[in-house]
Each structure stands twice: as C-alpha cells, then as structure tokens.
Amino acid sequence: MNNTTSISADKITSDLLPKPFGRPGKIWTSVLIVLCLIGGIAYFRQLQQGLVVTGMRDYASWGIYISNFVFFVAISLVGSLISAIFRLTNVGWSTPLTRIAEIIAVSAILFASLIIIVDMGRPERLFNLMLHGRLQSPIVWDVIVITTYLVLSLLFLYIPMLPDLPILIKKSKLGSGLNKMYSFLGSFWKGTQAQYKLSNKAVLIITIIIIPVALAIHTVTSWLFATTYRPGWDSTNFGAYFVSGAFLVGAGGVVVAMYVFRKAYKLEAYITERHFDRMGKILVMLALLYLYFNINEYLVPAFKMKKAEEHHLMGLFSGEFSMIFWSAILIGMVIPVIVLLFPKGRKPRTMFVMGLFVVVGAWFKRFLIVTPTLLSPFLPMYDVPENYMHYWPTWEEWSITVGSLAGALLIITLFARYFPIIPIHETIEESANNKIEQL
C-alpha cells in the first residue's frame, strides 16, 4: 500500500517515466565508466602476465575475486525476497521495490558470472567445463544454477514490465533508437484480457519457481566451500548461513537503492517513509537471523577449539583478520540492529546509512569466509616464501573488483535511465484499486 491514491494516472506516468541524466547523473555514470575502464586495463594486464599479477599464491589461491563472487551471488538473492516472497505473501506495499530488486538481482548475477571467469588464469578454458565438466563437482552445479537463476531473473524483470512498454513506446520519439528498442521489446503488448491472463500465469510460475532456484544458487555456492575439508568451511550449517546472509545483504542493497532512486528521481510519493520503516523492520529481522547463524558458525568451533581450527579462529578473533572480523560483525549486523530497532532509526537517511553499513559489512564478511581459511591449512606452512603466508590484494585485483562493482552499478543506472524503475502500469492499477476500495 502507498499514498498514490490521490495521484492521477497521467501524473504517475510522468513521474515514473525514465528521465535523462542531470549533472549528478552524468558525473555518476562517468565515474562508473572510468572505474570499469581501469578494471578493464587491470584485467588486460592479468591476461597478459597471468595470475602472477595478483596477490594470490599457493595457499591463498582464492582472494577478493571469489569474495566478490560470493558477494554478488548473495546480493542477487534479493530478487526472490522482494519480488517473489512478498508477491506470494500479498505484501502490497512492495510494488515500488520489485523492479529495483529485480535489476539488482540481474546485474549482480551477471557480474558474479563474469568475476568467476576473471578468477581463472586461463579464461579460454571455461569452455572445457562445458565439454568435460563432471556432475560430481559442485563447481558444475554452481555454473548450472547461476545460469538458471540469470535466465529466470531476466524473465522476472521482463514479463512484469510488458504493460509498461507501450507507455514507453508512446512517450519516446518515433523512429528514435529508444523507440525501436521499446517496440522490439513490447510493441505486441495490447493489454488484452488474454494477454493479461498469460502474463499473470507466467509471473505466478516464476514467482514460485524462482524461490527454490534462488535458495539453490546460494546453497550451492556455500557447498563450494562446505564440501571441502578445511577449518572454517567444514560445516553442515553453511547453506542456511549463506542464505540468511544473502537475504540480509540483498535487503540492505535494496534500501540503499530505494534511497538513491527516491532522491535522484524525486519519488517521495511512491517510495515513502513507510516503505523505509517496513524495510527497516525486515533488516532487523534478517540481521538478527544472520547474527544467530554467525554465533553458531564461530561459537561452537571456538568452544571446542580443535587444534586445526585454532589458527583460523584466533586469526579472526584476535589475530591478522580481527580488525576486519569485528568491524564486519559490528557494522554489518550489530549496529544496524540497534539503530533500526528505534522508529527514528528507520527514517530514510538513517536507513540509507544502515543499508550501506550492511552492504559494506557483507562484502568484508565474504572476504573473511574465503581467505583466512586458505591461510590456515591442516598441514603447517613450512619452507615457503614469507608472502605465501599472507594475502593482500594487488592494485590489479582491487581495480578489477572495484570495476566489477562499478559495472553492476552501471547496469542498474542505465536501466533506470531507459526503463521505469517503479512499475508504471502496476502503480496506476494499484492506485485505481485503492480509490475503489476507499469509495
């Protein structure tokens, strides 16, 4: 439910139609493009010289690329939370958030696929995975489930957008490139009853099927770690732990995007304080849930403190990684919970800051899941160069990682430039229904 009942259909259309970038939009997009280009140059260097340009060595063979991959997979889960779960449970107020959630999911999962290729020393050998992949390998399961989720997310973005496309065709300049693109995508949508029936059926099917697929993508990603016998990864809890963390970072990402789009496109009438308030409560619940799984993941092994686990756990609690560990726990979970428990904390600006906290905390949390374990092998590290015992990413790794994050943001930005970030037709329909209900 939103406060659009008093707004006319024409006003809604003009408010929600994509608008050209203003000065801040142009600067923002340019910065993202520059970051992507720097990432591209760094990747070119990596292709030329090999993975030796990274800080990864024999022990820390997974660094920030894989952390970033897990982060992207996690944030993509938001598509199923906001769009599917809320839709199935008739959460009416989620309408303005569904498309934001879906485009975050699509861009994140797209860059998750790309970053995993970046992590390969010989990317051209990806083809061998298709030719010689073994179904026994969780990596093959991950490739299958990521591809499936990407296709489903694209369909989930596209099908509910069909009723908006004729509006975009009508409002765009006839014969322009944009007009042609909109026409290609949706000129066939006439809004007939038969078309609505089919599209509603399609949306319902995706809504149902995307939930297990979304859970599978993150569970399988957790199995990439949990199916190996290593301190910190050897856990039966990993699937649920990953899924709960993914829901949290996804919701945090949506909160940040809500605030930015609300500000940039002046959508205060559509993304209201009530939306922030409700998303704030959801964030508290998800942060507490993730905190619960974290306690399980760290407290139980720490209580037993098996010799092999000791180096890993002490590295996190009071050693090399303690600063990042406690910051991620505090910034990514504890502080948001405390702040968002109070109604004042659920105001848009505070929510934006807490959303950023959650997202940044979540990124570093993924790093903590991936790398410290690799630096705590069961067999002690003997007779290896000093730099093999630690991991610090090189500028190439940082550039590629930042470039990939910028790339995902660029997709979201460009999508919002050319497509309505809040569903126009659905909002008009909802407004009309509300009016009828009020009468």
């Binding site: 296709v151 489903l152 369909l155």
Partner: protein, 299 residues
C-alpha cells in the same frame, strides 16, 4: 723515427708472446677428474660396471655429467675394450659386460676392470681400476612345518673349485619396487665357517596376484667380490588384489562414471526447471502472437 719503430716492434712481439702464453695456459687449464668403478653381479646374469665421475669444486666433490669413460676388462687394449659410456646428470653411467666377453669371463677366477678418460678438453687424462675375485651366492628357501627359512651361502672360485667364504656380511632382503627391505630382524648376517647364514622368515609382504615375492641375499661393496646378489621368487607374500574402484562409478571418478543417483536427481531437477523456463518463454511467445493477431484484426 727509427727508434720509435723498434719500440713498436718490441711491444707487438711482447704482446703476441703474452697472448700466446695465455692461450697455452688456457689449454693446460684442465681440471682433475676422479673416476670410481663398481662391480654388480646378480644371479647368473653378466656383470654390470658402474662408473662415477666427479671433480673438486670449492673444496667439494661434485658429479661430472657428460664425461666419456672408456671401459676395459683386464687390459687397456683393443682386445679388452668393452665400450665407452657417458656420465649422466648425476655423474654416473653403467655398462653390462658385452656378451662377446661371456666365454672369457666365465673362464676367469680373478679379473679387473679399467676405466679411462682420455683426450677430454675439460679434464686431465685419468684412469681407475678395480680388481675382483669371482664369487657367488646360493640362495635356498625352504618351508617345513609352516616354518619358512631363508638360507644363503657365499662361495668363491679358486683353481681347486668352489670354496666357502666365512666371516662375511650378507644382507637378506625382500626386493620391492624401489628398494630392498630387510627379510629378518638384523641389518646383515655374518657367514659361518661353511659360508652360510640362515634365518626364519616370518613377515607377510604384499606380493603379486599369486602372492609371489622376490627374496634376495646380497653382498655389498666387498673389496674382493664387489656387489653380488642372488634372488628367488616364491609365493610367501599375500596375494594382492588390484584396487579397481577408480573404474567404478564414484564421486571421484571421471565424468563417464558419475554415480547413477547423481545422474538421476540433478538431471531431473535441471529438466524440471529448464522445462518450466521453456514453457515460460513459450508463454511470452504466445503473448507476442496474441498481440500481433490483435494488430491484424484491428487493421
């Protein structure tokens, strides 16, 4: 002018002579090389001569790879020339006595092998030799009342026939793929007045498919007899069953041996989900078709 010309000639002559001396010194800068020969004889086979070449560098002996060593039996003549070997990276090389010498070698009781390095640009000429007396080990493996016994005897050849060799250390071993394992509790056993040693064999080693293992007795680095070894195959080991589990369907096998359950369930899921995706795409195509049909009917 005349004086300076003489002076120039003297300098040129001096320089040329100096260069010439230096060149001559270069030629004489050949390093000393050390050659060592070792003699190995197993069962009734022709003996094998192992050559090791080393040189001193920084007060340490280091192996010399690529050194050509001429090998001779008994005399450094064309008749005694066995052949030439080239040392490998670890500085050693070996040669089995060529079969053309078999008759001659069979008739010998004492013999010597000579190794020479000649005409090498890097190293000085060098020669080494080993003198040996022919000996043989006889191995006897018996089993009585489930007691297995290894008995070995050492004899040397003399003009009056075979004579037993007492007070000599023999090693009793089980030959494995890469090295030998002791067949008894001691590292070696000393022959008695009859030149014999005897021990009970109590161990169970993995054997081949029929349980065969190779038991041996050997003399190592003896100054008179060199390295001798006698071996005998006997089914005193436990038959080995080859592990073919890699060829079975398992999580660690190749892709064509994926476990059936792992083929069925994930593929059912994949077919189910992708079937639904295809159905969804079909719905979109139907929506598209409906739109186009409506266009035509409106026109």
């Amino acid at each position: 002018m005349k004086q300076s010309a003489y002076f120039t000639i003297i300098i040129v002559v001096f320089l040329l002579s100096t260069v010439g001396r230096l060149h001559a010194q270069d030629e004489n800068l050949q390093a000393p090389i050390r050659i060592a020969l070792a003699y190995y004889q197993t069962d009734e086979a022709l003996p094998l001569i192992k050559v090791t070449a080393s040189t001193k560098k920084n007060k340490k002996f280091v192996p010399v790879p690529g050194a050509e060593v001429n090998l001779f039996i008994n005399e450094e003549t064309v008749e005694g020339f066995m052949g030439r070997v080239t040392t490998h990276d670890q500085g050693s090389a070996s040669m089995t006595l060529p079969s053309k010498f078999k008759t001659r070698w069979d008739s010998l009781i004492s013999f010597k092998f000579i190794g020479t390095v000649t005409g090498n640009k890097q190293f000085e000429d060098q020669a080494a030799e080993i003198e040996l007396t022919k000996a043989r080990i006889t191995l006897s493996l018996t089993e009585e009342d489930s007691i297995r016994t290894i008995k070995a005897s050492l004899h040397t050849y003399t003009d009056s026939g075979l004579v037993s060799v007492p007070e000599t250390d023999l090693l009793l071993v089980v030959s494995r793929l890469l090295s030998d394992i002791g067949a008894g509790e001691e590292e070696f056993y000393t022959t008695d007045e009859n030149g014999e040693v005897s021990i009970p064999f109590v161990y169970k080693f993995p054997g081949d498919g029929a349980g065969n293992i190779l038991i041996g007795a050997k003399v190592e680095d003896h100054e008179l007899y060199g390295n001798l070894k006698a071996t005998q195959k006997i089914p005193w080991g436990s038959p080995m069953k080859a592990d073919h589990s890699f060829a079975k369907r398992s999580l660690w096998a190749t892709r064509d041996k994926t476990p059936i359950w792992l083929l069925i369930f994930p593929n059912l899921l994949i077919i189910g989900v992708w079937g639904t995706i295809i159905y969804l795409i079909n719905l979109v195509l139907k929506i598209r078709k409906l739109g186009k049909t409506s266009d035509i009917s409106n026109n």
